[in-house]
Amino acid sequence: MTVLEFDHVTKVYSVRGAGQIKALDDVSFTLESGRTIGLVGQSGSGKSTIAKILTQLETPTSGQVRLDGQPIPRRGAGLRAYRQTLRMVFQDPFASLNPYHSIRYHLERPLRLDAVVPQAELEDEVRRLLHRVRLEPDAVIDRRPHELSGGQRQRVAIARALASRPRLLVADEPVSMLDVSLRLGVLNLLADLGRDEGLGVLYITHDLATARHFSDEILVLNQGQVVERGTADDVILRPQHPYTRELRAASPDPEKHFASLSGSHGGAR
């Protein structure tokens, strides 16, 4: 089922001295529930503009964004309901949680604001959310963010995003600030949640390797334009557009590196 639809979206910024800059140029894609789209491209390619339009921090210059076939409401109760449907997971788990508040507070707040469960069930729901992101509720519920590791914090941020029972998750570089041994855990969690809950996930990253493994489909953005799209393996393993090839050639690839060093036998791991 199509949840989200970008329909020929263009965003132009007027910059003093530099004239007009097309941050997005006729971008169209659809996101189905339970599927993950990887959005890759270098800095300035327009990835974040898409996230900003989705969160209604920016409005498109032309074109339309539709949720369940309806345009995104601009204000009022409609906008609130929309924001309940779409949640963000940010890059920096050290900055996205409030240092003064307990984990319980972080998760209770969206539950209260969106009246997800009756008051009496708040505690149970918070514990259920922590379970879902594979944190032990008793170990973390009364702690503050600084007492948790980066990976634990990012799990709390994901639990918070899930609290309002959204249907879409926008994850903007959700693991790039985490230690490498924690990254796969968090990405696997996102993949599981996407599948189990039928969430549509937009995974924004410049890491081609994780994009390949965690996305069903990949969109390659360059200077505001989608230059290539296709299934994850097609785009990464058999890139067609020169820009995608360039991105791939620039990404570290030990397999290929050692294979080229040792001729025929290397890289077979």
Partner: protein
């Protein structure tokens, strides 16, 4: 076998807080002249503390509790870094060993033109140089790192992230050091800019022949650029071997864990259950 440039023996650093943290534990390491040594590990493993420690750049509460560091100068003289007095240390730093700092993109002074900041290196370390000579040296450095001499009057905010990183490399290169320590020099850059900077580092190394210690948590990157890789965990080097052997035949369990933490760009899928 290439000769040694730096010998670190039984080196330990403790952060004297309550309770004390042993950040680096009895590290012994020999750096060979001309190699790129990758230092990999996760946050808190002690890799930056080790790199700072061997140059005695640490401040209290960090305490070097044991060990010696000997720098084998190209002149044939052995410098015992831990025995230098303050003035000798000042001369030693940047002249023999320079550093590209973590977050280098923000390490430049925002209110001074980059040319003036580069000139400072010569003012302090080469006081005999005339102003015109300094200017020329700065212009030459900016040419070498392909920022261009005409940018000497630019302020840091007028340059892109990649260009600022090049300025930092120019600064580290200024006195033609024998060792350059690079602490996460490309972490904040996107892949295309990162690749350009790496290419440039490797080219400069060919030209000027310095040795590199490259610190990062990005193991796939290290596997491509390093001659040897040291894997650090909880203050200890758990494994040190050539990049190829780390890749094909890792011995330590932690090395194996790190290797398996990175999804392969082109290899088999299956790291992830999907």
């Amino acid at each position: 076998m290439r000769d040694a440039l730096l010998s670190v023996h039984d080196f330990s650093v403790t952060y004297d807080v309550d309770p004390p943290v042993e950040a680096v534990k009895h590290v012994t390491l020999e750096l060979r002249r001309g190699e790129i040594l990758g230092l990999a590990g996760e946050s808190g493993c002690g890799k930056t503390t080790l790199a700072y420690g061997v140059q005695r750049l640490l401040k209290a509460p960090a305490v070097i509790t044991s060990g010696s560091v000997v720098f084998h100068d190209a002149s044939g003289e052995d410098v015992e870094v831990d025995r230098l007095d303050a003035e000798q240390m000042r001369r030693f730093r940047w002249d023999k060993v320079s550093m590209v700092f973590q977050g280098a993109m923000n390490a430049l002074n925002p209110v001074a033109p980059i040319g003036a900041q580069l000139e400072d290196v010569f003012v302090v370390h080469r006081p005999q140089m005339s102003r015109a000579e300094r200017r020329e040296a700065v212009a030459e450095l900016l040419e070498i790192v392909k920022v261009g001499r005409q940018r000497a009057r630019s302020f840091p905010h007028e340059l892109s992230g990649g260009m600022r990183q090049r300025v930092m490399i120019a600064m580290a290169l200024a006195l033609r050091p024998q060792l350059m320590v690079m602490d996460e020099p490309t972490t904040a850059l996107d892949v295309l800019v990162q690749r350009e900077i790496l290419r440039q580092i490797s080219q400069l190394r060919h030209e000027f022949g310095f040795t590199v210690v490259f610190i990062t948590h990005d193991l796939p990157l290290l596997l491509e650029i390093s001659d040897r890789i040291a894997i650090m965990r909880e203050g200890e080097i758990v494994e040190l071997d050539t990049a190829e052997r780390i890749w094909t035949n890792p011995q330590d369990d932690y090395t194996k864990t790190l290797l398996s933490s990175f999804p392969r760009l082109t290899g088999e899928r299956g790291v992830v259950v999907r």
